[in-house]
């Protein structure tokens, strides 16, 4: 099972934290610091697995991580998960982010923390892997966030619509009358 998912940048600033086991707030921050310390000192071409830090459970847990440009994606997992599988899962998650945000960058994660959470929620649930099919994930997310749907989600939704043809309900008719306000001036990055 996945115990925690941490995303932080090259300076150790957390961009998303998700714990699937209870830790007090200050402990969570300590774990982030410890994990950042462990991961950031490693070269880029060494292996993507290492034993967990002492705070998160030591050698019974593995940290599996990937480093993309300015961000580290770290999953802390126990021995029931396949290391390479999790590595792929990180890739799936990031590719999904990329699809949903159209060229995702750190700023997207900062300003749309909630949306990142929703995407993650479609991938991992309660520490277990829910879905690995990227199109399905995107479809679920698009479906829920903007029922009118983005263009990119259309084919996938068509697929799931066909699949669900014989079922009574299809989660499409949720009407959310939300206001779209463009952010006028973003700070320079």
């Amino acid at each position: 099972m996945i115990k925690a998912i941490l995303i932080f940048n090259n300076h150790g600033k957390p961009r998303l934290i998700r714990f699937y086991q209870y830790f007090a707030e200050d402990m969570q921050q300590q774990i982030i610091r410890e994990t950042f310390h462990l991961v950031s000192k490693r070269d880029d071409n060494v292996c993507n697995f290492l034993e967990g830090g002492s705070l998160i459970g030591g050698s019974d847990y593995k940290l599996i991580y990937r480093h993309y440009a300015t961000l580290y994606f770290v999953f802390c997992v126990d021995s029931s998960e396949s290391e390479l599988g999790i590595l792929d899962l990180i890739q799936v998650f990031v590719e999904t982010l990329d699809k949903c945000f159209e060229n995702v960058c750190e700023l997207d994660l900062i300003f749309h923390m909630d949306k990142v959470h929703y995407i993650l929620q479609e991938v991992v649930m309660g520490g277990m892997v829910l879905e690995t099919n990227m199109n399905e994930i995107v479809a679920q997310v698009e479906n829920k966030i903007s029922p009118s749907g983005g263009l990119s989600a259309a084919p996938a939704r068509a697929v799931s619509a066909v699949k669900n043809m014989n079922l009574p309900e299809i989660p499409r008719n949720i009407n959310i009358g939300d206001i779209n306000i463009k952010v006028p001036s973003l700070s320079p990055f």
Partner: protein, 956 residues
């Protein structure tokens, strides 16, 4: 910024985040956050009802603030309100907040459960999914109680949507892990197995995870899943990448599901049915074959996914451990990976080979890779990989290659990373002992170990070498010669001096015939190290000297001179001084015969499991010791009843007691004789000796059978009569009966404390075999660490001895440790247990603050669970000065002029624990007419508030 227009932009949120990002300093950031928190708080508290959108926006801001590492202690109620909104986005953010911020024992759980129940019954699949996600993410017992019977129904109902089924399966899995007793088995189990045949691969994947966990608990109930899993796997493996919807990942067919299915099969032995078995073998062969095919894509994701399946297949082959051909093929495949250019694969190959090494079919095949693994140890750039290489070497070691492997590990040790040195030292020590054919090699190895990595050689390792040398007389002469030579090195490690002192003290005579190692040379060599050593080592050396007097009468005068010198007889350290005095007297008055008896060679130690092995197991956890334990990884995880991981910095008593008493390794007193002498009465010549040599009375239990665990204190009633008297004071008499009086003095600083315990013998007879120890109840372990120094085993009539207890508060606690005392009085064994007055409030630091600050904080701690209030009748006269003294004694600062009513008392302090600090505010309102008090406590932690209130309210 295209995404903004797509989603549901919240302008206020974006502005706030931009503000934070523009902050030039940490202080500015904190200031901005506090401003925002105050704003949100006032909005939430304000009279105007907030619309859903604003609530959503504020909750989102709180989430962001939490992410930055600030404690969020409000807003939960607003989030709960959002759950009942009909707007999806509002409901969604409510659930998000709750699953990120609410822990499983929150008071709000009932309200949350209600909202979840509504959503589960809504028949709206999106809402149902949200609810299921929330249950899985929080996973508390209350939720399990409320929904554990509901979810299986949703899972197997015919009209449930695929996505809901997926969530329901995983939700059930999570509840099964957190509260297995609450998830009922029933007729749904059979139907769950059939989900393996579901059309939707997402459902199959989720169901496979669920079944794997259930099958580990009750394998028989889920046996039917084997054939379904094999069939499914076979269809995936042989498929030509069609009919898998979108589950093909970089040209690999449903890798995730394949991995899960292979995991599921690892819950069972190989199928008995021949057809099924051959079908599975076929699958595994196909997977192995695919590894040899040229890749369909150059992308790393392709090979990753392919190898994920491959490694899982190899795990299954190793688990079945029945098909020699498959095992050998697996081993060869891993051998290829050992030299792969991808570091991840090398890492995993080393790890898998560790388990493969324990199979009888493949052990030899694994051994053929020894050169590659040794090479990996030398050339890998990544410490994680090197560590796996060490593990594998350890696993593949047997009698035939032990010398090579130990030599390689030793040479690696010189450059090894500091983080893994101690582990390597332990491994080398174990291998050297386990596969030693001639023990001269063993002795050489351990001495090398001390030379190369002396700092990482723990006590257990050098105890063990002494134990082995004492038990094997064929190696004693060699050991003496070797340590003698090793001690000649200009800078030798203190551990070597210890081993050298002990061994020469016992067996120096075996090499004394050679003029190069004559008694005087030996003594001078040892003594040249004396002044560089720490006190325990010096104490050990003094014992070696007295043994020398026995072994070599010719150096007696020299040694007596040394013992007589001021630096020994008047040493500031009591232990050293005492030894010097006693040994000097012993050497002067005892006859040669008596000396020879008292200082006889140590008797052999009884054979036992190596304490080093125990230590390694402790360090690594039993699962990681291939070759010695069953090495199978715990494949499919386990329940989450995680116990706090043991800290390895303090060795527990069983290790300390093993082999030697740590603080006084005195080979001098071969104690059986001493003990019997004590019972022989005063006519015996030993009586004098014993009187002057009182301490060793503790030794019998330690030296005679050093392996016996410390005798567990017999269960006696725990006295807590005076416990509450110590809440507001630190010194006084804790316990008294006709024989013994126990007094206390204690001092505390932040999360540390020291307690001096005085044991007074009220009789005129000696207490013998006096011992006292402190035990922590299960709940208290991990919350409070108490380290008791040893205490003198004899208390003369009318005398008093002192014991020091060092304490560290790790987290807040409610129980109190128990002091167990045992001694012999006139032949009868006495057992006393007293509750030690160590309470949470001892770790208070008083905090002065102004009236304004006080009330501001008081308001901040306004959540209902943070406040505890008690109204009680006064038990003592209501005297203002006494009350003040008690509050001060409780540990808080008494704040004058804060409360508008001068009769009330107001205090503030901070509880220091290792994990955290808990601020605490208290207010005591006396009502003299009614002779009642009202005590109110507010802290950020409900358990702390409750405990402090309980403690203090009994004082008035």
């Amino acid at each position: 910024m295209p995404a903004v227009s797509k989603g549901d932009g919240m302008r206020g949120l974006a502005v706030f985040i931009s503000d934070i990002r523009n902050c030039k300093s940490k202080e500015a950031e904190i200031k901005r956050i506090n401003k925002e928190l105050a704003n949100i708080r006032s909005k939430f508290k304000g009279d105007k009802a907030l619309d859903g959108y604003s609530k959503k926006k504020y909750v989102c801001k709180l989430l962001f603030i939490f992410l930055l590492g600030h404690d969020i202690d409000f807003g939960h109620m607003e989030a709960v309100n959002l759950l009942s909104s009909n707007k999806y986005t509002e409901k969604q953010i409510g659930y998000l907040f709750i699953s990120v911020l609410v822990n499983s024992n929150s008071d709000l759980i009932r309200l949350i459960n209600n909202a979840i129940k509504n959503d589960l019954n809504s028949r709206n699949p999106t809402f149902m999914n949200l609810a299921l996600h929330c249950i899985a993410n929080v996973g508390s017992r209350e939720m399990a109680e409320a929904f554990a019977s509901e979810i299986p129904r949703i899972l197997v109902a015919g009209d449930t949507m695929d996505s809901v089924k997926q969530s329901a399966a995983l939700c059930l899995l999570r509840l099964n892990r957190t509260s297995p007793d609450l998830v009922p088995m029933g007729e749904w189990t059979a139907r769950v197995v059939h989900l393996l045949n579901d059309q939707h691969l997402g459902v199959v994947t989720a169901a496979t995870s669920l079944i794997t966990t259930l099958a580990q608990k009750s394998p028989d109930d889920f046996k039917t899943s084997i054939s379904l899993a094999v069939a499914r796997l076979s269809r995936i493996v042989t498929s030509a990448c069609i009919d898998l919807q979108d589950y093909t990942y970089y040209f690999v067919a449903a890798p995730w599901l394949s991995v899960k299915l292979l995991r599921l099969l690892q819950c069972y032995p190989p199928p008995e049915d021949a057809a099924l078995r051959s079908r599975l073998t076929e699958c595994l062969e196909t997977i192995l074959n695919k590894a040899q095919e040229p890749p369909k894509s150059k992308k790393v994701q392709h090979s990753n996914a392919k190898n994920a399946v491959l490694f899982e297949a190899i795990s299954l082959i190793i688990h079945h451990d029945s098909e020699p051909t498959l095992l050998v093929r697996a081993c060869n495949q891993l051998g290829q990976f050992l030299q792969h250019r991808e570091t991840n694969l090398r890492y995993l190959a080393l790890e898998s080979m560790c388990t493969l090494a324990s199979s009888e079919f493949s052990h030899e095949a694994v051994k053929t890779h020894i050169e590659t693994v040794i090479n990996a140890l030398k050339t890998e750039r990544d410490v994680s990989v090197r560590q796996r290489a060490v593990d594998l070497l350890y696993a593949m070691c047997d009698r035939s290659n032990a010398k090579q492997i130990v030599a390689e590990m030793l040479s690696y040790l010189e450059t090894a990373d500091y983080s893994i040195r101690e582990e390597i030292v332990l491994k080398v020590a174990i291998l050297a002992e386990k596969y030693a054919v001639d023990y001269t090699w063993y002795v050489d190895t351990i001495l090398n170990l001390i030379r190369i990595a002396g700092d990482y050689v723990s006590e257990e390792v050098w105890y063990r070498v002494i134990q082995i040398v004492i038990n094997r007389d064929d190696v004693q002469g060699y050991a003496a010669k070797t340590v003698f030579e090793a001690l000649h090195a200009p800078a030798c490690h203190e551990n070597l001096v210890k081993v050298g002192g002990y061994i020469l003290g016992e067996f120096g005579n075996l090499i004394a015939g050679d003029s190069r190692s004559s008694p005087l040379v030996q003594f001078n060599l040892l003594h040249s190290k004396f002044h560089l050593c720490s006190v325990p080592t010096r104490a050990l050396l003094l014992s070696a000297y007295i043994k020398f007097i026995n072994l070599f009468p010719e150096v007696k005068a020299t040694i007596q001179d040394v013992l007589r010198s001021d630096s020994q007889l008047r040493n500031a350290d009591v232990e050293l001084q005492q030894r010097a005095v006693e040994y000097l007297r012993l050497s002067c008055i005892a006859s040669t015969d008596i000396l020879a008896t008292v200082l006889e060679e140590m008797p052999p130690f009884p054979e036992r499991e190596s304490s080093i092995l125990a230590k390694l197991k402790k360090k690594k956890g039993p699962g990681n010791l291939p070759d010695i334990d069953d090495s199978r990884r715990n494949v499919n995880g386990n329940t989450e009843h995680h116990e706090p991981t043991e800290t390895t910095n303090k060795s527990p008593p069983s290790l300390m007691a093993d082999l030697l008493p740590t603080n006084r390794p005195r080979p001098a007193s071969s104690s059986p004789i001493m003990l019997s002498a004590g019972t022989m009465g005063s006519s015996h010549p030993f009586t004098d000796l014993l009187n002057l040599n009182s301490p060793p009375a503790a030794a019998p239990s330690l030296l005679v059978d050093v392996f016996s665990d410390l005798s567990a204190p017999a269960s006696v009633e725990v006295s807590e009569d005076n416990f509450s008297r110590f809440v507001c004071k630190n010194n006084g008499v804790l316990y008294e009966n006709q024989l013994l009086q126990i007094g206390l003095k204690s001092e505390y600083r932040q999360n540390l404390g020291r307690m001096y315990v005085f044991y007074g013998n009220k009789t005129s007879t000696q207490f013998l075999s006096f011992s006292s120890s402190v035990t922590n109840g299960d709940a208290l372990k991990g919350q409070l660490i108490v380290h008791a120094k040893s205490v003198d085993p004899v208390i003369d009539g009318g005398a008093q001895v002192q014991q020091i207890l060092n304490m560290e508060c790790v987290s807040d606690f409610t129980d109190a440790p128990v002091l167990n005392i045992q001694f012999r009085y006139g032949g009868a064994l006495q057992n006393i247990a007293v509750k030690l007055p160590v309470m949470l409030n001892k770790f208070f630091q008083p905090t002065e603050m102004t009236s304004q600050d006080f009330f501001q904080r008081w308001k901040q701690l306004g959540a209902p669970q943070q406040e505890v209030q008690k109204i009680f009748k006064s038990q003592h006269p209501m005297d203002t000065d006494v009350t003040k003294a008690k509050i001060l004694g409780f540990g808080v600062a008494l704040l004058d002029g804060v409360d508008p009513n001068p009769a009330n008392f107001v205090g503030a302090g901070v509880i220091h624990t290792k994990d955290t600090q808990v601020g605490c505010l208290l207010r005591l309102e006396p009502n003299t007419q009614a002779e009642m008090y009202r005590l109110t406590l507010r802290t950020s932690r409900d358990s702390v508030s409750q405990r402090l209130c309980d403690l203090l309210s009994e004082q008035f």
